[in-house]
Assembly symmetry: C2
Homo-oligomer: 540 residues x 2
């Protein structure tokens, strides 16, 4: 017997409709690619999103067509989030940090019909344009006065299209399981793989993330997502903020410390979201200029783990609480958030920092388990570690037009991470399954070693990789980028690590480098490092 | 094209599973019907809910069977919320304040197989037992030592059933649209009508209500729902609190000022939920004993409107913020909440009070519109008023085993309320459609008149009804319950109202009474008053 409740579908347009009705004057702030900061309201954005929906129709776009973006976090990109998905087309956000051949591949793979592009990315687009097989229109996200005059591409102007379109548009009621947006993983091997989100998964994810036990986005929040709208929907923040009418501050192309500080201070931002490298730059900017992030209450850090020193610096210099969040493209992306709660509040400051270093507890909707190599479920005791499997209504069930099902086991998604889960539900990533170092039959966590090394005052960034070893199969090698002006030695670093990790974990060698390679989304490209240093320990 | 996301169904058991994994030590406090206060954790409750699921099987209960409760807000009732629905049966919560013949009617109408009953309600059950056609078992919510010895009913003991049951139970994955619980409206005419909630509607409602822009229930919340678990699931609080691991304080049968104060102060409750009459008693208790509700931050008031004087008293004497919530059994029940937000925060205190008197903005998921008598949609300008229609995924689409579809119009539910909605989305109930007073072709809001009269210091409670009038069709009559020791006169009251309402709204007569009749859920029974005073103005 079914309940007798309305079958109202969960639609992305419903989020914007709610905003227009309930917090029309809520503010969206956007740093323009052409300079200056633009401000308007959810009401304004709603009107323009409806115009956009009509403009898409005028361009011949029909429901389920893929519409691509190559764009920064701006108000126009925000309009595309709702105008494209809300009208029933599929928003394909492209990560401009992918290699050009990957960008060409995914635009063709998605069969994108129209591409909306920021001025910044026109040279990139020009370099791949001739290889694109389905694209009918390119729209530049600017006004007539800033339209490029020298490009040979057939370019349309976004503001002109909007000006010509009516704002009368009824958002259609769509099947909540219909596809809403598409994002390709930045995978380090093979072609990028597409994750196809539904309206349902997007709305449920936004609901879950808004919770005070997750990201905590409400009407009185002023949120600055430095996490990009071109990758996994900026962790869903554009949806969550719109749901609540919180002030949304979009940084455009300005990811440097100075530009970010200007927005944070100018708009009294209280919630930040981004990857550690961005915060490294911001904290350095603050240090150098003796500035404090006085309005900031919470800093959500994901993408890769924040070192405890960063967690401490935010707390002790800026009175800002760092919450780790963990997720993946395949998880829309949020799986866990390490928000403040009664248990954490009961700990002393030192224990709090230790706990904050974990990835956090699953947000309601996500289930997690860890399994050993035979598939046995391991206990949640904070000690046992195994492959992390997840499931939930915003977890991918397969890749878009892709045969590979190897990451799915009995209805669970294998994250490729190795993790522990403790009795309070706190998950801690031990390592990527492929990065864990197998030394003489035992496992060494490259991440734990990196976190320990990052405590050294002379180290700006570091990476630990397992490299082939004649006796132990693999041994850890530590690569270090020293801070400006610092000149640490191998002995100093190894002495520093002694006592902080098991003796047999100590790296066999420390290599000092100027920089480390990263993936398009800022993750350490360890595969490349392993190739480079393949022979490093073979002469022992 | 569908998104490629997991089809994980939203299940009520998922809420409890999440709690067991992520906040096992979160606390549930419960005042026992037999005296004393019981405390345990979400982990304990989870284990017992699984035992209960097995106990139900042992009693022969199968999926979709209806299982009834006649019970207070206690930990055992909490276990039934999850044990019954989670295992796939349907929880039918019975309002003991219904008339015995209504109780007999709904138990038969629902075809309840098993009834769980608090000691308090055994005499009530005895009075109707012989008329029950489907009931196979009666289980008393107590331990062996408190089992009644004189009853002639075949009574089972709850604690004994649990002791005999295994705690090994895998919550089944249920179709999210399957029925989960059933609640009958306390309707003033005809038989009560059943609203059948689904797992999906319950989970979505809990998510929406948890939001800081709604009830704001998070891990650090200590919530005391005085709203009963026997009617519309205590506004969903048992689900929302479990979702977040907030401390849940259940008042049992102790709804008086003293019992409530004891729990509030003893457990440092920061969120209260209840109807105005309960708070009237609590505030009087505080006044009389010079007590302050120092831990309380928010007081959610629904069921009927709180007078501004009550909103002021909570603020000025207890520094507690009153949030109106509005809903109905057919809405699971929450439709709007008047939570603090940027807009309200920008107003001065006087304007805030005025705004707080409104019913609030729709929670995300609920859409509202107002229509005139011809069905035209009225504008959201705070002035136009018309019948309030709603829709959303937790709004009823029909009644259980009932033909009447008169409350549904083109996919919207007609609430039977007359309301305004302003440009910020604030909905304000003007009146029940059947209570609005039609005087000479114009409408007078009985509720506005009552609110104005409640400002008089000598008035404890009042009601305004429209009674037949030879010249104007209907005119307002004001019924007043004076405060203890106060002796207001008709002239005093009318003078007080002059200037506060339009002159032609002034009641034609003021009648002083000792008490006013209420429905089972605490609403004024105006139908009865209209019958009693039908002739009051006909002699004019």
């Amino acid at each position: 017997m079914h309940g007798l409740m309305m079958g109202c579908p969960l639609n992305i347009s419903g989020i914007l409709k709610h905003a227009e009705r309930n917090h029309p004057n809520g503010k969206i702030v956007s740093r323009e690619v052409t300079g200056g900061v633009f401000e308007y309201t959810y009401r304004d954005a709603s009107i323009r999103a409806r115009k956009l929906a009509n403009a898409l129709r005028n361009l011949g776009v029909v429901q389920q067509d893929r519409v691509a973006t190559l764009a920064w976090n701006t108000h126009r990109h925000f309009e595309l989030y709702f105008g494209v998905s809300g009208s029933g087309s599929i928003l394909h956000t492209i990560n401009p940090r992918l290699f050009p051949e990957q960008i060409s591949y995914i635009i063709n793979h998605a069969e994108d019909q129209v591409l909306f592009v920021d001025l910044t990315f026109i040279p990139l687009l020009e370099s791949v344009y001739s290889s694109l097989n389905y694209l009918k229109h390119v729209v530049v996200l600017t006004s007539e006065e800033h339209m490029p005059t020298t490009s040979e591409l057939p370019l349309l102007c976004y503001e002109t299209l909007l000006n010509e379109a009516s704002s009368n548009f009824e958002w259609p009621d769509l099947d909540e399981n219909s596809a809403a947006s598409l994002c390709y993983t930045s995978g380090t091997t093979g072609h990028p793989k597409g994750v196809l989100y539904s309206h349902r998964s997007t709305v449920l994810h936004a609901w879950a993330c808004s919770s005070r036990d997750a990201l905590g986005i409400a009407n009185d929040t002023t949120v600055l997502p430095v996490v990009p709208m071109f990758h996994v929907n900026a962790w869903g923040v554009p949806y969550s903020a719109t749901m609540s009418g919180g002030t949304l501050v979009l940084p455009g192309a300005g990811m440097d410390g100075n530009s970010l500080y200007e927005l944070i201070d100018g708009y009294q931002v209280n919630l930040l979201l981004g990857v550690p490298t961005v915060w490294l730059a911001l904290l350095q900017h603050c240090q150098k200029n003796e500035l404090t992030l006085s309005s900031v209450e919470n800093v959500v850090i994901g993408g890769s783990a924040a070192p405890i020193s960063m967690i401490q610096e935010f707390k002790e210099k800026h009175n800002a609480f760092v919450m780790h969040a963990w997720g993946m493209t395949e998880l829309s992306p949020v799986g866990t958030v390490n928000s403040m709660n009664r248990y954490m509040a009961s700990l002393d400051q030192h224990a709090q920092y230790q706990l904050q270093a974990k990835q956090g507890r699953s947000v309601f909707g996500i289930e997690m388990k860890i399994i050993d190599s035979e598939g046995n479920v391991l206990s949640h005791d904070g000690q046992a570690f195994g492959r992390l499997l997840v499931r939930g209504p915003w977890v991918a069930t397969s890749y878009y037009k892709h045969e590979d099902r190897s990451a799915w086991i009995d209805g669970w998604f294998d994250t490729g991470d190795v993790a522990t889960i403790d009795e309070h539900g706190y998950m801690s990533i031990v390592d990527r399954a492929k990065d864990v170092i197998k030394s003489g039959g035992e496992w060494i966590s490259s991440i734990d070693l990196e976190n320990a090394a990052m405590g050294h005052p002379a180290i700006l960034e570091c990476a630990v990789i397992g490299v082939p070893h004649p006796k132990w199969d693999e041994r850890p090698l530590l690569l270090v980028v020293p801070k400006e002006g610092a000149n640490p030695t191998q002995d100093e670093v190894l002495n520093f690590l002694s006592g902080k990790v098991a003796k047999w974990w100590l790296p066999d060698s420390v290599v000092f480098v100027d920089q480390l390679p990263h993936t398009a989304t800022g993750k350490l490209l360890k595969m490349k490092l392993r190739e480079t240093y393949r022979q490093a320990l073979m002469s022992d």
